[in-house]
Amino acid sequence: MQVKSDPPAVGEILLDGRRYPIHEGDTIGSCLMRAGILRLRHSMTGEVRGIFCGIGICNDCLIVVDGQPNIRACQVEASPGVRIEIAVS
C-alpha cells in the first residue's frame, strides 16, 4: 500500500495487463506491495504466498519476470517495462 513520503515514480512494471509505478530503489516485491498486491505465488499444494523473509532467504516470493521463472520478487530490482506473472503450481 502507498504510504507517506514516497519518492517519485521512475517507470512502470506490468502485471495482468495493468501498470504499476516503480519508485527509485524498488524491488519488484516492494513495487507490487505499494499497490496492495501481496499474493505472488501458489505453493506446491496451491496455497497463496507472498513476501515472507524479505531478504532473499526463504524463496517464498518467486515470480515470473519476462517469461523467466523463479525470480525472487524481494531481491530483484524493478526495471521499467518488465512483465510480471504470478506463477501457478
Binding site: 500500500m1 502507498q2 504510504v3 507517506k4 513520503s5 514516497d6 519518492p7 519508485h23 530503489g25 524498488d26 524491488t27 516485491g29 516492494s30 506491495m33 505499494r34 501481496l38 499474493r39 505472488l40 505453493s43 506446491m44 499444494t45 496455497e47 497463496v48 504466498r49 507472498g50 513476501i51 515472507f52 523473509c53 524479505g54 531478504i55 532473499g56 532467504i57 526463504c58 524463496n59 517464498d60 518467486l62 523463479n70 524481494c74 531481491q75 530483484v76 530490482e77
Partner: protein, 458 residues
C-alpha cells in the same frame, strides 16, 4: 600487483566491511561479495547516509581499496581457495582467495504458527527493510509480535509510515530486568530504547508484555489474528484469546546466524542450547576451525551491530597478521584493545540475549495442519506421522517427509524442526555440529548456469 595476499570477504554488512577496510589498509588485495544492491548489509541498507561506526560512509571503502561485487551470491566452494559466485549479469564466476572472512550475518528466526504462510505475514526484518528502504508496508493495521528490542524498531518504522500498530512482546516485563540492567548502564542503548518507547507511546503502540499471536486468519491474505496472553514460559493462557482485525503481521522472535557457506566450507558450528541456535565457532582472533578462514559478526552469534564491527576489525587485523602485514608487537597491542572492547559489548549483548531468548513453548504454537516447511508444504501432522516409523532426529524426519529439501534448503524450517524435536520428542542436539547437511548450490541458480559450473567442477 601480482603476489599480493588476497582476502575475500563474504557479506558487506558492518562486520564484513570493517574487516575489508582493516585488511585493505594493511595492503591486502580485498574483494567483497554481497547479494545486496548496496553496501552495508541488512543494518545499513536503508541507512546509506549514516556515519555510525561500521557504516559504509564512515569506512569510505572505495574501488581503490577493494573490488566490490554487489548483487552477487556465493553458491559453492568447489575447491580450497576458490568460491563460485552467481550474478544475473556475469552468471557463474570464480574468485580465488588466500584468506576468507565469513560475515554472512543472520536472519529472522522462523516460527511456524497457524496462518503464518498467508500473504501479509512477514518476518520483522523483512517488514522493516521494506518500510525503511522502499517506504511500503503490507497493510494499514499492523500486528508486530515477537520478543526482543528489534520489534520496537519495526513498530517504530511502521508507525512512522502511518500504520496503526499493535506491539506484543512475549517476554513478561518482570523477566526483562536483566535486559534493563544492560540498557541503563549503556547510554547508547538507553537513548535508543527511550526514543522507541516515546514514539510508540505517542502513537498508542506501546508493547503489551506477556502477549503473543497464536493464530493468523485470512483467505487470500491476512484479515485478522488471535492474540493471547502467555505465561513466563510463553505458554498461551487458555481463555485469554482476543481477535484483532489486521491487514499484516510481523513476526520477530530474534535472529539466527546464516551458516550455509560456513558449513559448506567445513567450519565447525556449535549449538547454543539456551538461545536455541547454532553459531560459527571462532577463537580469540576470529579464526574458524579451518585454516585461513575467519568470521565476524552475527554469524558467530547474534550480538548486534556494535559487536559486529569490532569483530570485523579484529578479523581483518588477524588476517593481515597471518599474511605478515602487521608486526607481532602492533598486533598484540591492537588485539588487546579490540578484545577489551569486545568483552564489554558482548556482555551487554548477553544480557539482552538471555532476557529475550525463545522459550520452549514457542515450538508448540504450530497446530497439526500448520505448514512447517514452506517450500515443500509439509505439515506438522506429516512430521508427527513420520516419527511413528523413524527416530526423532532431524535427518530422519527430513528424509521421510521432504522437510527442508526445497529451495530454501532448510533455512526456514530447520531451526523449528530441531527445536520442536527437542521440546516435544526428547531430541538432544549435540554441542558441536549441526544435524543438517548443506549442499551446493547454496542459493538457487538457473539450471543452464549450473550446468556450466558442473563442467568446471569435474
Amino acid at each position: 600487483m601480482a603476489g599480493r595476499a588476497r582476502l575475500v570477504v563474504v557479506g558487506a554488512g558492518p562486520a564484513g566491511l570493517t574487516s575489508a577496510a582493516e585488511a585493505s589498509a594493511r595492503g591486502m588485495q580485498v574483494t567483497v561479495v554481497d547479494e545486496g544492491a548496496v553496501l552495508g548489509g541488512q543494518f545499513f541498507r536503508a541507512r546509506q547516509d549514516s556515519w555510525a561506526e561500521g557504516s559504509p560512509r564512515r569506512l569510505g571503502l572505495g574501488d581503490a581499496d577493494a573490488q566490490i561485487l554487489l548483487r552477487t551470491t556465493v553458491v559453492d566452494a568447489p575447491t580450497d581457495g576458490v568460491l563460485a559466485t552467481w550474478s544475473a549479469n556475469r552468471r557463474i564466476e570464480y574468485i580465488e582467495y588466500d584468506w576468507l572472512v565469513l560475515a554472512t550475518g543472520a536472519y529472522d528466526r522462523p516460527v511456524p504458527i497457524p496462518g503464518w504462510t498467508l500473504p501479509g505475514v512477514l518476518t520483522a526484518g523483512g517488514a522493516h527493510a521494506l518500510a525503511k528502504t522502499n517506504g511500503v508496508v503490507p497493510g494499514k493495521r499492523m500486528l508486530v509480535a515477537g520478543s526482543g528490542p528489534f520489534i520496537l524498531a519495526v513498530a517504530d518504522v511502521l508507525v512512522a509510515r502511518g500504520c496503526s500498530v499493535t506491539t506484543l512482546e512475549a517476554t513478561p516485563f518482570t523477566m526483562q530486568i536483566a535486559g534493563l540492567k544492560a540498557v541503563v548502564r549503556d547510554p547508547e542503548l538507553l537513548r535508543q530504547a527511550a526514543g522507541y518507547m516515546g514514539r510508540l507511546a505517542v502513537r498508542r503502540a506501546t508493547p503489551r508484555y506477556g502477549w503473543t499471536v497464536t493464530r493468523i486468519i485470512g483467505n487470500e491474505r491476512v484479515e485478522s489474528a488471535i492474540v493471547q496472553r502467555v505465561d513466563i514460559e510463553w505458554r498461551p493462557v487458555p481463555g485469554s484469546e482476543k481477535a484483532l482485525q489486521v491487514d499484516g503481521v510481523c513476526l520477530g522472535f530474534g535472529f539466527v546466524p546464516r551458516l550455509d557457506l560456513a558449513q559448506l566450507l567445513g567450519c565447525s558450528v556449535a549449538y547454543q542450547a539456551d538461545s536455541s541456535d547454532y553459531r560459527l565457532q571462532t577463537n580469540a582472533h576470529m579464526r574458524t576451525t579451518r585454516e585461513r578462514i575467519f568470521a565476524a559478526g552475527e554469524v558467530t552469534g547474534v550480538a548486534g551491530v556494535r559487536v559486529a564491527h569490532v569483530e570485523g576489525r579484529l578479523a581483518g587485523l588477524s588476517v593481515a597478521r597471518e599474511a605478515g602485514l602487521v608486526t607481532a608487537a602492533e598486533f598484540e597491542l591492537r588485539q588487546r584493545d579490540l578484545s577489551a572492547r569486545l568483552g564489554k559489548l558482548r556482555r551487554a549483548a548477553e544480557w539482552i540475549r538471555v532476557a529475550f531468548r525463545p522459550r520452549p513453548a514457542l515450538w508448540s504454537l504450530a497446530q497439526p495442519p500448520t505448514v512447517v516447511c514452506r517450500c515443500e508444504d509439509v505439515t506438522l501432522e506429516a512430521a508427527e506421522r513420520a516419527l511413528c516409523a523413524n527416530s526423532a532426529d532431524p535427518l530422519s524426519v527430513k528424509v521421510a517427509t521432504r522437510i527442508g529439501m526445497g529451495l530454501c534448503q532448510g533455512r526456514i524450517c530447520s531451526p523449528y524442526l530441531i527445536e520442536w524435536l527437542r521440546a516435544k520428542h526428547g531430541y538432544r542436539p549435540a554441542a558441536a555440529g549441526r544435524p543438517w547437511s548443506v549442499r551446493p548450490p547454496i542459493s538457487p541458480v538457473p539450471i543452464g548456469d549450473l550446468a556450466s559450473h558442473t563442467d568446471r567442477r569435474r
